[in-house]
């Protein structure tokens, strides 16, 4: 298989397989988790302002009092790379084009230079987060193979995309094919690893928020 055939495959069959596994995987996992149900709380509820599942879904996006100081790298690094990834994926012109091809939806993107800058900053933040995971006793203690693996699987598409645009290291066609392949790997593993928090965190925050709201505590 030469470069062009490789590229054609990842753009065609490869993409179909990856998106298929991703969609089925997400659906399966959501069913697996949320059909477990929960018991009704029989204690008479108390009401308080600002206490509900929805409040917590939003409130948990901000660091609770004192926490930013205790773990600045987690928060600042976390914000930068999450926002960076979202900007690259949803506002980079080639990505919008892909989404348009898949769904028909389209919206304006950001200039290439800006996306380049965001990409570099995002990668820097991810490297800092990795170093923090290695250095901080608690993070290192909690880390398993999955943590290193999911870091790599998330980092690679960003890196290869950037290298392709910059025409570095490998011929453009090859790098682009590698970029698409790495993104496909990310799609495939997402539903089955901790990356699935992208979906479940809404449910988790909501459960926590609503359980505590019954007691009248905004969490």
């Amino acid at each position: 298989m030469n470069d062009l055939q490789f590229l054609t495959w990842v753009r065609g069959t490869g993409l179909d397989i990856a998106v298929g596994i991703f969609l089925l995987g997400v659906l399966w996992r959501l069913i697996e988790i949320y059909t477990l149900g929960r018991k009704k709380d029989l204690a008479a509820p108390r009401h308080a302002a600002g206490a509900s599942g929805l409040h917590t879904v939003f409130r948990r996006s901000l660091p609770p009092p004192g926490m930013l100081k205790r773990s600045p790298v987690s928060y600042i690094g976390g914000y930068i790379f999450h926002i960076g990834l979202a900007v690259i994926v949803f506002l980079g012109a080639p990505h919008i084009l892909l989404i348009t091809n898949l769904t028909g939806l389209s919206w304006p993107g950001l200039p290439t230079q800006f996306i380049d800058l965001v990409t570099v900053v995002t990668m820097a933040a991810m490297v800092v987060m990795l170093v923090d995971r290695i250095n901080k006793p608690v993070k290192r203690f909690l880390s398993t193979f999955e943590d290193w693996f999911t870091w790599a699987v998330t980092f690679l598409p960003v890196l290869t995309g950037w290298l392709a645009v910059q025409h570095l290291l490998l011929p453009y066609t090859t790098m682009l094919a590698l970029h698409i392949l790495s993104a496909e790997i990310l799609l495939v593993v997402l539903p089955f690893t901790k990356l699935f928090h992208a979906f479940t965190l809404f449910g988790s925050r909501w459960y926590n928020g609503s359980a505590n709201a019954r007691k009248g505590v905004p969490v």
Partner: protein, 420 residues
């Protein structure tokens, strides 16, 4: 797998619900929950990271409920939980978790970790890996009536003394009273002033109340150990008495875990809503304050800070009353940085104070470090709280550190300054 381990796995399987599954799948191993837990902040030992305390439960979830986990189990690639491992976890689940719930406030993906610990304890209780101290307390509550083995005649004796001291009659088993008053053994034994305070306040407010000779104990060690069947027996006793005496309200004592047990866990344990309302004593006092019944003569002058017991405030939802009440009686009340629902635990909740091994006591003293700093930073000589269990724990720690901080109970402080 041994038969008993089978039963443990079965119990753990049963406690896993959609929230727990969602929590496990959301965890990104960021370690932020550790920063909220006093056992980590005061020791720096990563094993005290809250989410790590439920690791065996996570493995059961993965192996029993997830596609990938089940596949791995089929081909023998996963590590089933072992009895030995649960034995190792006992320290993490009981000695070093007070069910304070602070971790559940900070997890960025929203995990309610204390809920997971509480549920994990149900499996631990089946496995038998529970601290002797809590096991004994549970057994005594079921068989004798209270965690400290206190029997009614002894309680009646304390009540008689309180009647003599206050000149107020304390009715027992009186049908049709508004309030059924519950106590905690710790109060009866160590802080009988609480009972006097209550009698005075009820008398002043003209509220009818009674005690029940067969249901005076409000604490529920069954919940702390994680044995729902025993917890149910203990709660049922109170429900039966409340229904027999046809009271409108059941008054929870200051004790935080007692409040949690009767107010929030009670109806779920017996499987139906209560026909009466459960009120925490501070809620009642705050209501009386708002009605203008709780008038003070003279104020308490020494500068003081408040220690908010976890199970009443953060976990119990009595958020505003404590501060409003302390301001009513204290001239120099100093609010601290982490207060109300952000308060730090005394280190003795969740049954921990009943564990008397050397290691557990040393750990408890260490965990008190955060409280010690709060007292020192505020530069006060007095701390006020409203939970008998917190008081015992804090007094032990004050002794340990040879601090001469004065520790007062809020209800008594109010009663002392009550206008005659």
């Amino acid at each position: 797998m041994s038969a008993s381990l089978d039963k443990v796995t079965q119990t753990l399987k049963e406690v896993i619900d959609a929230p727990i599954a969602s929590y496990f799948d959301s965890c990104v191993h960021c370690g932020l929950c550790a920063e909220a837990c006093l056992f980590y902040t005061e020791t720096g030992d990563p094993k005290y990271t809250p989410i790590h305390k439920v690791e065996p439960l996570r493995r059961v979830y993965e192996q029993e409920y997830t596609l990938l986990g089940r596949l791995m189990k089929m081909v023998g690639l996963s590590k089933p939980i072992t009895d030995e491992e649960l034995g190792e976890w006992q320290e993490l689940v009981y000695d070093s978790c007070t069910l304070c719930g602070r971790c559940s406030m900070v997890c960025p993906v929203g995990n309610d970790i204390v809920y997971m610990v509480r549920k994990f304890r149900e499996g631990m209780a089946v496995s038998g890996h529970v601290p002797d101290g809590i096991r004994g307390a549970t057994k005594r509550t079921v068989e004798i009536g209270g965690p400290m083995g206190l029997k009614w005649p002894a309680v009646a004796n304390v009540l008689r003394k309180a009647e003599e001291a206050t000149g107020v009659t304390i009715p027992v088993d009186k049908e049709g009273a508004d309030y059924l008053v519950l106590l905690s053994s710790m109060e009866i034994v160590n802080y009988p002033e609480y009972i006097e305070a209550l009698a005075k306040i009820f008398h002043k407010a003209g509220i009818s109340f009674t005690l029940a000779s067969d249901a005076f104990e409000a604490t529920n060690a069954g919940i702390q150990i994680g044995a729902s069947d025993l917890a149910k027996v203990i709660v049922t006793r109170i429900v039966d008495a409340a229904e027999r005496l046809k009271v409108k309200y059941v008054l929870s004592p200051e004790c935080g875990h007692a409040y949690m047990a009767i107010r929030w866990e009670g109806p779920n344990l017996i499987g139906r809503p209560f026909g009466f309302k459960v009120v925490h004593v501070l809620e009642l006092l705050d209501q009386l304050r708002q009605e203008g019944v709780l008038k003070m003569k003279g104020m308490f002058k020494d500068p003081l800070i408040l220690h908010d017991p976890c199970q009443i405030v953060r976990r119990g939802g009595v958020l505003q009353a404590p501060e409003a009440l302390i301001r009513q009686v204290a001239e120099n009340y100093i609010p601290i940085a982490d207060q109300q629902k952000w308060n730090w635990c005394c280190g003795g909740g969740g049954g921990a104070s009943a564990i008397h091994t050397e290691e557990a006591e040393a750990l408890r003293a260490k965990a008190f470090g955060v409280k010690k700093r709060q007292i020192e930073e505020a530069g006060v000589g007095t701390m006020v709280t409203f939970c008998a269990n917190c008081r015992i724990t804090i007094e032990e720690a004050l002794d340990h550190y040879e601090m001469n901080t004065k520790l007062l109970g809020l209800t008594e402080l109010l009663a002392e300054h009550l206008e005659d």
